[in-house]
C-alpha cells in the first residue's frame, strides 16, 4: 500500500490551508470599563463599497483616530476613555447588515453603533436601532420621508435632506438665471434607474413644474449604461439651455467625458453623485470648471477646510464635497453629546435631538431630528466645489453661469 497518493496529499494540503487560514481567536476579557465600544457594519465589499469607502468609512476612521489621539472620548466627569472599534463588513447584503447590527447590539454589546452607508441599509437597520435603544445618525440617506421616520423611530436622525430639497434648490437657481436672461425656460433631464435617480427625477418634475420650468427631454436610463452619446445628442437637439443628469458613478464620469467629445456645452450642466468625488477632479483637471452638482462647501469656512486637510493627510485622499463633512460633523455631535450626557444612550439621543453643537459645519442644531441647514447645490469654481445654494445662506457664492466652454483638448 502506498502511504499517500499525490491526490490525497494535495487534498490534505488544500484542507490544511483552509483550516490554517481560519485559525485565530479574538480574545475578549471582562474588565472594568477601560474603553468605549463603538461598532459599525459597513459595506467594505460588494456593490456599495465604492460609496461607503468615500463618504462614510474614512470619516469613521478619521474620527476614531482624532478622538483617541486626544486621549479618548470625554465623559461628563472629565475623564477620558479611548474608543474601541468593532467593525464588520456587511458585504452589501441587507440580511448581513441586519444581522451584523444585531450582533453589535446583543453579542458585542457596544456602547454606540454608527450607521451603515446608503438609504436602503439605513432603513433596514432603523427598526433594530430603535428596538435596542441606539441613536442612529443616518447621513448617507437622502429621503423625503424623514419626518415620517422620525415619528416612527424616535432615536433616528436624518442629516442629508431629501430629494425635494435638492431639486427645489436647483429650480431656484434656474429661475434666477432665467430671470437674469442667461438661460431659456427649457430643461433636458436624464436620470439613472436606481433609488437615487428615481427619487430625484420624481421630485424634480414637481419642483420644475412649480418653478414654471419646462422639461423638454426626460429619459431614464438603466444602471450600467455606458454610451450616453445618443442622449446627449437628443438633449442638445432639444434646444434646452440646461442639462441635468441625476446620475451615479461611474455614469457621471462617462457623461463628463462624452459631453466633451460631443462638444456639448449647455449653459447649465448639472450632474449627480460623483461630481464631488476627489477622483473626479483628479481625472478631469480644469475641464470641471462650471459643472454643478449636489452638495458643496463654503471655502471660507476655516473649520471645513481644516477638516479637509486632516482627512487628506490621514486617509491619503481628499473627502468628497457633499456627504463627507456631514458624516464627520455627525460624529462630532455624538462626541459632544457623550461629553455632556455620558454613555446613557437615552440621554445622548435626547441631547442630539435638542442640543446645539459646535462642529466643522459651524453651529449645528437639528430640527425635528433632521439637519436642515445644508448645502443643496454647488459648482466647481477654480478647482473648489463651492456652495451656491441656498443662495441666501451665509457663505454661499454666486453661480458662474453660463458655464465656461470646454477647454481645447
Amino acid at each position: 500500500m502506498t502511504l499517500f497518493s499525490r491526490r490525497s496529499a494535495l487534498r490534505a494540503i488544500g484542507l490544511a490551508a483552509t483550516l490554517l487560514a481560519s485559525v485565530g481567536v479574538a480574545a475578549v476579557s471582562a474588565q472594568d470599563r477601560t474603553s468605549v465600544k463603538i461598532g459599525y457594519a459597513i459595506s467594505k465589499t460588494g456593490a456599495n463599497a465604492g460609496g461607503a469607502g468615500i463618504t462614510t468609512l474614512p470619516n469613521y476612521q478619521l474620527w476614531v483616530h482624532d478622538v483617541n489621539e486626544a486621549g479618548g472620548l470625554e465623559l461628563p466627569d472629565g475623564t477620558r476613555l479611548p474608543i474601541e472599534v468593532v467593525e464588520y463588513d456587511d458585504r452589501s447584503a441587507s440580511e448581513e447588515v441586519v444581522r451584523a447590527v444585531e450582533r453589535l447590539a446583543t453579542q458585542d454589546q457596544v456602547d454606540f453603533i454608527l450607521p451603515p452607508w446608503g438609504t436602503g441599509f439605513n432603513l433596514a437597520v432603523a427598526p433594530l436601532f430603535d428596538r435596542f435603544g441606539y441613536p442612529q445618525l443616518a447621513v448617507s440617506a437622502v429621503t423625503d420621508k424623514a419626518p415620517e421616520f422620525v415619528e416612527r423611530w424616535k432615536k433616528s436622525f436624518w442629516l442629508l435632506g431629501g430629494g425635494h430639497d435638492y431639486t427645489e434648490a436647483l429650480a431656484q437657481i434656474l429661475n434666477d438665471q432665467k430671470a437674469a436672461g442667461t438661460i431659456n425656460n427649457d430643461v433636458a433631464v436624464i436620470s439613472v434607474a436606481d433609488g437615487f435617480g428615481i427619487d430625484l427625477i420624481t421630485a424634480a418634475r414637481q419642483s420644475f413644474a412649480d418653478g414654471g420650468l419646462n422639461i423638454v427631454y426626460d429619459v431614464t436610463y438603466p444602471v450600467g449604461t455606458t454610451d450616453f452619446t445618443p442622449m446627449l445628442n437628443e438633449a442638445a437637439a432639444s434646444g434646452a439651455d440646461t442639462f441635468v443628469a441625476f446620475s451615479y458613478p461611474p455614469d457621471t464620469f462617462a457623461l463628463t467625458q462624452q459631453a466633451q467629445v460631443a462638444q456639448y456645452n449647455p449653459k447649465v450642466l448639472y450632474m449627480g453623485v460623483g461630481v464631488g468625488f476627489p477622483v473626479y477632479q483628479a481625472n478631469n483637471g480644469d475641464k470641471i470648471e462650471g459643472i454643478m452638482s449636489l452638495g458643496g462647501i463654503d471655502p471660507n469656512n476655516v473649520a471645513v477646510m481644516d477638516y479637509r486637510a486632516r482627512h487628506t493627510d490621514f486617509i491619503g485622499q481628499a473627502p468628497d464635497w457633499w456627504g463627507s463633512v456631514v458624516t464627520y460633523a455627525s460624529l462630532q455631535m455624538l462626541q459632544e453629546a457623550i461629553r455632556r450626557q455620558g454613555l446613557d444612550r437615552e440621554a445622548v439621543s435626547q441631547e442630539l435631538s435638542t442640543g446645539t453643537f459646535e462642529t466643522v459645519l459651524g453651529e449645528t442644531k437639528l430640527e425635528d431630528n433632521q439637519l436642515r441647514t445644508l448645502w443643496l447645490g454647488g459648482q466647481w469654481q477654480d478647482g473648489v466645489f463651492v456652495a451656491v445654494a441656498p443662495a441666501d445662506r451665509e457663505g454661499a457664492v454666486a453661480p458662474r453661469l453660463p458655464k465656461a466652454p470646454w477647454p481645447a483638448q
Binding site: G14, A26, A105, G195
Partner: protein, 310 residues
C-alpha cells in the same frame, strides 16, 4: 413501517425543539437561527429540482426576489396570509411559464439562462417601478417579529424536506431516478420527462418564492438591487452541493455548517472573508465533489472493501 413511524416521531420532536429555541435565545441567536433556516429551506427547495435532474439552476434569487417584492407591493392592501398566498401563486405562474419555455435546454445553456432570468426579472421590476409608479424603493412596515419570521421559515423548511421525502417514495421519485441516470432510457420507458421536470421546477420555485416573501419584512426597505442579489443564488448552490444535492438531508447538512461558518468568518475576519470563502469553495469542489454525505458513504465503502481484502 415501525422505522418510518419512529423517524416521523423523531422529526416532530426535533421540529418542536427547534420551534422552542427562540424563547431561550437573544435577538442575535434568533437572527442566526432565522438566517440558517432560510438557507436550509432555500437549499432544500433548490435540491428538490436540481438534485435529481442535475439541472444547475441559478434562478433562486429570481423567485426569492419575486416573493420579497410581492410583500413589498401588497403588504399595505392585503392581510398578511393573503399576501403570502399571492406571492406563492405568482412564483408558481412564473415557474410554469419559464419552465415550459426552457426545460428543454440542457447543460450549461440552462445555467446561463437561469442566471439571466434573475437579471431579466430585476430589470422588469425596475422598468415597471420607474415608468409606472415613479418610485424605486418600497417600504414594508409589518408588525412581524424575528421570532415569527423564524417560525414561518421553520415550517417552510420542514415542509420542503417532507415534500422531498414524499417524492422519493412516490412514482414521481422513481421516474426522477431514471431521468437522473439516463434521460434517453427514461424517455423510452414512457416517462413524461418534460412534465416531471416542470412539476418539480414549479414546486421548488414556489417554495423559494415563499422564503423570499417571509423574509422580506425583516428589511423594512426593498429595492431591486437588494432583493435580486445574485449572491443568494450562489450561496444556495454551494450549500446544497456541500451537503449533497440528491440526498434528502444533504442540503440541510450543507446549509447549517456553511451558514455558521460564514457568520463566524464575518464576525472574526471581516477583512479576509472573501479570500477565505474562495478557498473554501475550491476546497469543497476539490475534496467533496459529490457532497459530504456521499463522501462519507464512499469513504465507508472504501474502508469496508479494504477490511474485506485484508
Amino acid at each position: 413501517m415501525t422505522r418510518t413511524i419512529l423517524g416521523l416521531m423523531l422529526a416532530i420532536l426535533g421540529l418542536a425543539a427547534l420551534a422552542w429555541m427562540p424563547t431561550q435565545l437573544g435577538a442575535y441567536g434568533v437572527g442566526l437561527l432565522l438566517g440558517m433556516t432560510g438557507y436550509v429551506a432555500l437549499a432544500s427547495a433548490w435540491a428538490l429540482f436540481s438534485g435529481p435532474t442535475r439541472y444547475v439552476s441559478l434562478a433562486t434569487v429570481a423567485f426569492f426576489g419575486i416573493g420579497a417584492y410581492t410583500v413589498a407591493v401588497l403588504s399595505e392592501t392585503l392581510p398578511y396570509w393573503a399576501v403570502l398566498l399571492v406571492a406563492a401563486v405568482i412564483g408558481l405562474a412564473v415557474a410554469l411559464i419559464v419552465g415550459l419555455a426552457t426545460l428543454r435546454l440542457a447543460g450549461v445553456y440552462f445555467v446561463i439562462f437561469t442566471f439571466g432570468l434573475a437579471e431579466l426579472i430585476r430589470q422588469l421590476v425596475t422598468w415597471y417601478e420607474v415608468n409606472v409608479t415613479g418610485t424605486l424603493g418600497r417600504y414594508i412596515f409589518l408588525p412581524i417579529t424575528a421570532e415569527q419570521i423564524y417560525w414561518q421559515l421553520l415550517a417552510v423548511a420542514a415542509g420542503t424536506i417532507a415534500i422531498g421525502w414524499l417524492i422519493s417514495r412516490s412514482r414521481l421519485g422513481l421516474a426522477l431516478k431514471v431521468i437522473g441516470d439516463d434521460e434517453t432510457v427514461a424517455g423510452h420507458t414512457g416517462i413524461n420527462i418534460a412534465g416531471v421536470k416542470l412539476a418539480l421546477f414549479a414546486v421548488s420555485a414556489t417554495i423559494i418564492t415563499l422564503v423570499g416573501a417571509i423574509q422580506a419584512p425583516r428589511w423594512t426597505y426593498v429595492e431591486p438591487a437588494i432583493v435580486f442579489n445574485p449572491t443568494i443564488s450562489f450561496l444556495t448552490l454551494i450549500m446544497a452541493l456541500l451537503g449533497g444535492a440528491n440526498r434528502l438531508w444533504g442540503p440541510a447538512l450543507g446549509a447549517i455548517p456553511l451558514f455558521l461558518l460564514f457568520e463566524w468568518l464575518s464576525a472574526n475576519f471581516p477583512n479576509h472573508y472573501s479570500i477565505i470563502l474562495g478557498l473554501l469553495f475550491i476546497a469543497i469542489v476539490f475534496v467533496v465533489p459529490r457532497g459530504v454525505l456521499a463522501g462519507i458513504e464512499d469513504g465507508w465503502a472504501r474502508l469496508k472493501r479494504r477490511g474485506e481484502a485484508a
